[in-house]
């Protein structure tokens, strides 16, 4: 029998590194003391893992665990496998089978628990659980492209997130995932930005826009009661790249919008989506929803962020068990409305470089927002061109699923980014636009590694650049 040629598995062998977990325990952080943030304890983890597995199985998970017919169709949709075609451990089905076989051994499809010790196999010790960690965190960006292409409706993305959630309960997680979860539990935002730093950065951006437009009438309001829009952002905007806040402020001002940021509950990102921890997901999302309620706003608007959009717009309401009372939308939808209603005027000849659009997995495939960004781009750019594949079939930027915060998996991530690099290069575009801060960093890594002559932009930047501000005939200096 002829054997298929295989290369050694690309799964990264990263050891469990609980150093920052130990420190968090020593410091007695409230989230650790109160059991919200779980830390690693050597001991009976396999038994706990199996117990959690059987208690958490839902009907849709059971379907995804049992319906796979191993047809292999999904392999071709995964950028890991496409870039390493001789490595079976990169296929979605192999990754899902690692949890599937544990399930089959220990729990049957009705969810009835079989005694876990009946059969050997499955994870034997913490080492095995750590290996599982390296698969579900390190070899999958949770982009759900395989899910979208499975004829049996198997949701491998869901299985991956589910497994991540079990490991998170045991503290068997990459260091980066622990650190970001810690910061979001402890400070309400994933970059541990203090209230003072938050407010001062907003004031700084307000002053920048005032200078740019030559008017003091512009404000970046915080906690304004009864504003129409509650604007929520990604902490990365505050900490490292606040230009997007200035762009938004300039556009809101020009559109005559009544808006506010909240003093608390402003982080729309949500590491619970990546770590699989629904409790964290609920906590962060609830902060946003309660801010809107407290300020009696009519709408929640989410700045450009893929996983934040998916979490706040869709899954957060479920995690938090919160009745959705307000329309919750991406700022790109808001921009589209301004353009259609004539609330802002734009001059597309200010954006003449060829620009292509990268659909974020969490926005297109998992968020159902597909044509709106294109409508906006066609109005503000002269040369918009699609990449192929696109829309719900687009390839991940490769930094999804929280991978940007897990340095140990970066070499594999950049290797399989070859697929993304080829796709970007084929467009011949000079700009790649995306409505996700995470994708910005993911794409920047790809561009740098593969030396592509491209720059990443976001929708707000292009709209801000094309914006015609009444009273100023000239184009405002585009320094922000």
């Amino acid at each position: 029998m002829k054997r298929r040629k295989t290369t050694p598995s690309g799964v990264v062998e990263a050891p469990l590194d609980p150093r920052t977990q130990v420190r968090a325990k020593e410091e007695g952080l409230p989230s650790v003391n109160e059991g919200r943030l779980r830390t690693y304890e050597p001991g009976d983890n396999v038994r706990r893992f199996l117990g959690l597995l059987s208690s958490r199985i839902t009907r849709s998970l059971a379907v995804s665990l049992t319906a796979c017919v191993h047809c292999g169709l999904c392999a071709e949709s995964c950028h890991y496998f496409l870039a390493r075609p001789d490595d079976p451990t990169m296929t979605p089905v192999w990754k899902a089978d690692q949890i599937r076989k544990i399930f089959k051994r220990h729990v049957d499809w009705t969810g009835r628990v079989a005694p876990w010790w009946v059969k050997a196999g499955g994870p034997r010790d913490d080492e095995d659980l750590n290996r599982l960690k390296n698969i579900v965190f390190g070899s999958c960006s949770a982009c759900r492209r395989c899910t979208y292409n499975c004829p049996m409706g198997v949701d491998t993305g869901l299985l991956v997130r589910f497994t991540r959630g079990l490991l998170t309960e045991l503290g068997i997680v990459p260091e980066g995932v622990f650190n970001v979860s810690r910061d979001q539990w402890e400070t309400g935002n994933q970059m541990a930005v203090t209230e003072t730093d938050y407010l001062e950065t907003l004031e700084w951006m307000r002053d920048e826009v005032r200078t740019e437009l030559g008017t003091d009438a512009i404000d970046i309001p915080v906690d304004r009661q009864g504003a129409d829009i509650l604007y929520t952002i990604n902490p990365r905007e505050i900490k490292f790249d606040p230009r997007s806040i200035a762009h938004a402020a300039k556009i809101f001002h020009t559109a005559g919008e009544s808006w506010t940021l909240p003093n608390w509950g402003w982080d729309q990102t949500n590491f619970g989506l990546f770590s699989g921890d629904d409790k964290l997901g609920a906590y962060v999302a609830r902060n946003v929803y309660e801010a809107a309620e407290r300020l009696r706003t009519k709408r929640i608007v989410i700045s450009e962020c893929g996983h934040g959009y998916r979490s706040t717009r869709w899954e957060g309401y479920t995690w938090a068990g919160y009745d959705q009372k307000l329309p919750t939308e991406s700022v790109v939808v808001t921009l589209k409305r301004y353009l259609e209603d004539g609330r802002i005027a734009v001059d597309r000849t200010r954006n003449t470089e060829p620009v292509t659009f990268h659909d974020s997995c969490n926005i297109a495939r998992s968020g159902d927002l597909v044509e709106e960004p294109r409508d906006v781009l066609r109005r503000v750019c002269t040369d918009f061109r699609e990449m192929f594949p696109n829309r719900r079939e687009n390839f991940c930027c490769t930094g999804g699923g929280g991978l940007l915060s897990m340095a140990e998996y970066r070499p594999l991530r950049l290797e399989v980014a070859k697929i993304k690099a080829d796709q970007l290069r084929a467009t011949g575009a000079e700009l790649v636009c995306t409505m996700c801060h995470n994708c910005v960093d993911g794409l920047n890594d790809v561009i740098k590694h593969y030396k592509l002559p491209m720059r990443v932009v976001q929708v707000l930047e292009l709209v801000s650049n094309a914006l015609v501000v009444p009273g100023t005939n000239e184009r405002t200096k585009h320094r922000l």
């Binding site: 980066g176 970059m191 541990a192 990604n234 490292f240 790249d241 340095a407 920047n444 320094r479």
Partner: protein, 106 residues
């Protein structure tokens, strides 16, 4: 552990190109990191103003400064930071200043 080789020197870095042992940073390391990671041939006084501020802030607080603090301390406008360090404040300037990778989606 990954490393970069440059000008006959070997620098231990993590997989993201951030210094593996941030305490071992020297000005020479900064120059080499800037060349290897940011494609910069030599650092100007303006680069050094940013790098030294970040370095001091980190040694004092064990934390990467916000970009606002970088601008305040140096008097540079925001865009200047991007002009100086193509990969931006976090993956550019903080890396050259020998900080560990900042936490979060960056």
């Amino acid at each position: 552990m990954a490393h970069i080789e440059i000008e006959g020197r070997r620098i231990e870095v993590n997989e993201e190109g951030f210094l593996a042992h941030p305490e071992e940073w020297t000005e020479e390391t900064a120059r080499l990191l800037a060349k290897a990671e940011e494609g910069l041939d030599g650092l100007t006084a303006e680069h050094w103003a940013v790098v030294k501020f970040i370095r001091d802030y980190y040694l004092e607080k064990n934390l990467a400064p916000m970009v606002r603090k970088m601008c305040q301390a140096t008097g540079f406008p925001l865009m200047k930071i991007y002009d100086l360090f193509p990969s931006g404040p976090a993956k550019g300037a903080c890396k050259v200043a020998g900080l560990p990778k900042p936490d979060g989606c960056v």
